[in-house]
């Protein structure tokens, strides 16, 4: 059955269909065609084809049996390295089917693991290297410990160029018979922040409303998906109403299930739209940076965000 979710329906299923990543593609295709791959580390931002590449590799290797020989895990979803280890263990226990003498384990967001957990992962990789190949994906390879990096062939995926994303979207538009104005494509590309998955999701979401997509329509969809109301939180704070600001913040965080880091990101961007003196903008940006730093170090994002809001209250009083 072909999925009706476009990110799946139009996911490239062979090396030829991939857009961008030409250099990497050549090397990986050569490895795959030799039916022997090393452990691999895919590094690069979200939505540029890391998971897709892994899927193509296993489909090429195992053909119709790929599902039995492929285990996909997400490090930030699993509860700790032990769960990962257990799953790997039970998957690796049986031998692979077909002529390829190993199975493939794809561990997404491997940089979500702590260095200690990565050490444990390294041991797991060693223990099962006879029967399994690991493909790890991460946003930043610097967050992967050296011993793992040294055991993997590293592939750095580049951000997709605008023309690549456009080419890919064009394919979908033609197949789905929707029309999108050139300005709308422009906005869609900006809204996606170079993330191809996001671009496709935005396109499908908008297309579900109308088949003739205008710039206006796509802007509405994008803004409806953004964490709203961060501005309201800041407005309350600048007006000196700390309690309301704090309540609103908690409300947003819970309802939209957005992380503290995402809130900080929005606050940092929103500062430039606030009616405050340039000097204060700089000060608040510094405070925001400090809050983000502490948020990463600390345990409770909400406490760090409240402390930041208290700085906004001061700025509102002109004492920042």
């Amino acid at each position: 059955m072909i999925s009706e979710i476009w990110t799946e329906k139009y996911r490239p299923s062979s090396f030829g269909e991939l857009v961008g990543q030409e250099e990497i593609l050549k090397r990986i295709a050569a490895l795959t065609n030799s039916f022997n791959i090393p452990h691999m580390l895919f590094a690069g931002p979200a939505g540029i084809g890391k998971s897709t590449m892994a899927l193509i590799v296993v489909k090429e290797l195992f053909k119709e049996n790929w599902k039995e020989n492929y285990l996909e895990l997400n490090a930030s979803d699993e509860r700790g390295i032990n769960v990962v280890r257990e799953k790997v263990k039970s998957f690796a226990r049986t031998k692979s089917l077909g002529k390829v003498p190993f199975k493939v384990i794809f561990l997404d967001e491997a940089d979500a693991l702590t260095p200690e957990a990565q050490q444990a992962l390294r041991r797991t990789m060693e223990n099962y290297s006879a029967t399994c190949r690991f493909v790890l994906s991460c946003n930043y390879s610097s967050k992967i410990i050296d011993p793992i990096q040294s055991r993997c062939a590293i592939f750095r995926f580049k951000l997709l160029e605008k023309k690549d994303i456009e080419r890919y979207l064009k394919r979908i538009m033609d197949a789905e018979k929707i029309t999108v104005s050139p300005e709308a494509i422009e906005i869609l590309y900006e809204g996606s922040e170079g993330d191809c998955r996001k671009a496709v999701n935005l396109l499908q979401s908008t297309a579900s409303i109308a088949s003739n997509i205008t710039a206006e329509l796509i802007s509405t969809v994008i803004s409806s998906a953004k964490p709203k109301d961060i501005k309201i939180v800041l407005d309350y704070a600048l007006a000196g109403d700390f309690q309301k600001s704090r309540e609103k913040l908690l409300d947003i965080m819970l309802k939209e299930s957005i992380s503290g880091q995402d809130v900080i990101k929005s606050i940092q961007k929103e500062i430039w739209n606030l009616p405050i003196e340039p000097e204060i903008k700089v000060k608040l940006t510094e405070k925001t940076g400090e809050a983000e730093f502490r948020l990463v170090e600390g345990s409770d994002p909400f406490i760090q965000l409240q402390a930041l809001l208290a700085s906004f209250v001061l700025a509102g009083l002109g004492k920042g």
Partner: protein, 405 residues
């Protein structure tokens, strides 16, 4: 001369000897009475928890019940309850051997607070014991309202022993002095009684110490460290002057520092504003940074800094001491998170199904939920593809989210 402490020597032997706990005595009498008459109906509880602050006479009351009903006490402690076989082994003699002196037995489990809540056995074994017992079970506890004792509360009668009022304590002290042929200045006795804060054992211990002194008039009794409740602690931190004493404020609060942090967080805005607000939150935020470091590095000495910032740091954020009454609020954040989780449970399960199908992490999918929701909502085939349940489909189609707060 005997080396017994006054508290042991003058421990009450009859119900009538017990002062200031009439209500608890009544409940206890009724409980054992009905039990021994063999009239255990289904509604009748098989266990009685005597609870109250230290030194209010819980264990004493248990022993008096035994004396008055001519029962033998069979005492268990928390470690006997660790597992089934250990429990049965310990209980065997009690159940099998007929007592030489009397036919009645009472099973006493002293200081049940010490039982482990999460460990294997523990409370489960205790409930099992109560379920099957043919003898009345009496338990004592300091804090019956603690979370881990919740299952016990349903299975047992409760009798609270109140903190004994200072007048009653004074009477008891006079009585002891008379029997001991001692004389003490009235003021000193009053002082001891007040200082004990409802703890009669403490009062008797102090009395014994003082009666041995040559010049009891010069007595400066050390303030007994009693538990401060969180409201009081907040008052000290928020209103008081920063002093070294402040550092120990949270030591006497029977609450984890994590929970205290939530209380502080909730109530800073009730007390501070402007510059002070920012300073206080800065201290709180730094305390949290140390908390994070403790978790990540398992380096517990950072706790010192967390505690100092949370107490002294918050206290020193203000220019002047504060007066007046502030009503402090219970932290509501955890409750809100819980409520929200209930409400968004469907969102989570939908996201999980979606994430699995499209090879993406759950967290990332959750971040893009508004867009994903629109896609799923508009296409019934996708709903089938994801194997959404009826409730999940209903959630997807729900028009607006209602504001609960």
């Amino acid at each position: 001369m005997t080396s017994q402490t006054f508290a042991e020597k003058y421990r009450p032997k009859t119900f009538a000897d017990i002062k200031g706990q009439e209500q608890a005595v009544e409940i206890a009498k009724k409980f054992v009475g009905e039990f021994n008459l063999g009239k255990i109906t289904k509604s009748q509880k098989k266990a009685l928890v005597l609870h109250g602050a230290p030194g209010t006479g819980k264990t004493t009351l248990a022993h008096v019940i035994a004396l008055e009903t001519k029962s033998e006490i069979f005492e268990l402690n928390a470690s006997d309850l660790r597992n089934k076989s250990k429990l049965q082994e310990t209980l065997k003699p009690a159940i099998e051997q007929q007592s030489l002196m009397s036919n009645n037995k009472i099973i006493l489990i002293d200081e049940v607070d010490g039982i482990s809540g999460t460990d294997r056995g523990g409370i489960t074994e205790l409930l099992y014991l109560i379920e099957g017992t043919t003898y009345p079970v009496i338990l004592t506890a300091n804090d019956i309202w603690s979370k881990k004792l919740a299952p016990l509360r349903k299975k047992a009668d409760l009798a609270q022993l109140k903190e004994i009022n200072y007048q009653t304590i004074k009477d008891v002290l006079f009585n002891v002095l008379r029997k001991e042929n001692l004389f003490l200045n009235q003021n000193i006795i009053t002082k001891i009684a007040v200082n004990a804060k409802g703890d009669i054992r403490a009062a008797l211990n102090d009395l014994q110490t003082v009666s041995k002194m040559k010049e009891p008039q010069l007595l400066e009794l050390d303030e007994r460290n009693k538990e401060t409740d969180i409201f009081n602690a907040l008052k000290i931190i928020f209103k008081g002057k920063p002093s070294n004493e402040i550092l120990r404020t949270f030591d006497s609060v029977n609450m984890q520092l994590d929970e205290i942090m939530l209380w502080v967080e909730e109530n800073i805005p009730a007390e501070y504003s402007g510059q002070e607000l920012a300073k206080a939150y800065d201290a709180l935020s730094r305390a949290d940074v140390f908390k994070g470091r403790i978790y990540k590095q398992q380096y517990w000495r950072f706790l010192v800094y967390e505690n100092i910032l949370l107490s002294y740091g918050i206290c020193a954020s203000k220019k002047n001491i504060k007066t007046g009454f502030t009503s402090y609020k219970r932290p509501t954040r955890i409750l809100k998170i819980w409520l929200n989780n209930q409400r968004t449970a469907k969102k989570k399960t939908i996201t999980e199904k979606y994430a699995r199908l499209v090879h993406v992490g759950k967290k990332r999918a959750l971040n893009e939920f508004p867009i994903i929701k629109q896609i799923i909502k508009s296409n019934e085939n996708i709903q089938k593809e994801l194997r959404l349940t009826e409730e999940e489909i209903e959630y997807i189609n729900r028009p607006v989210e209602i504001n609960y707060f």
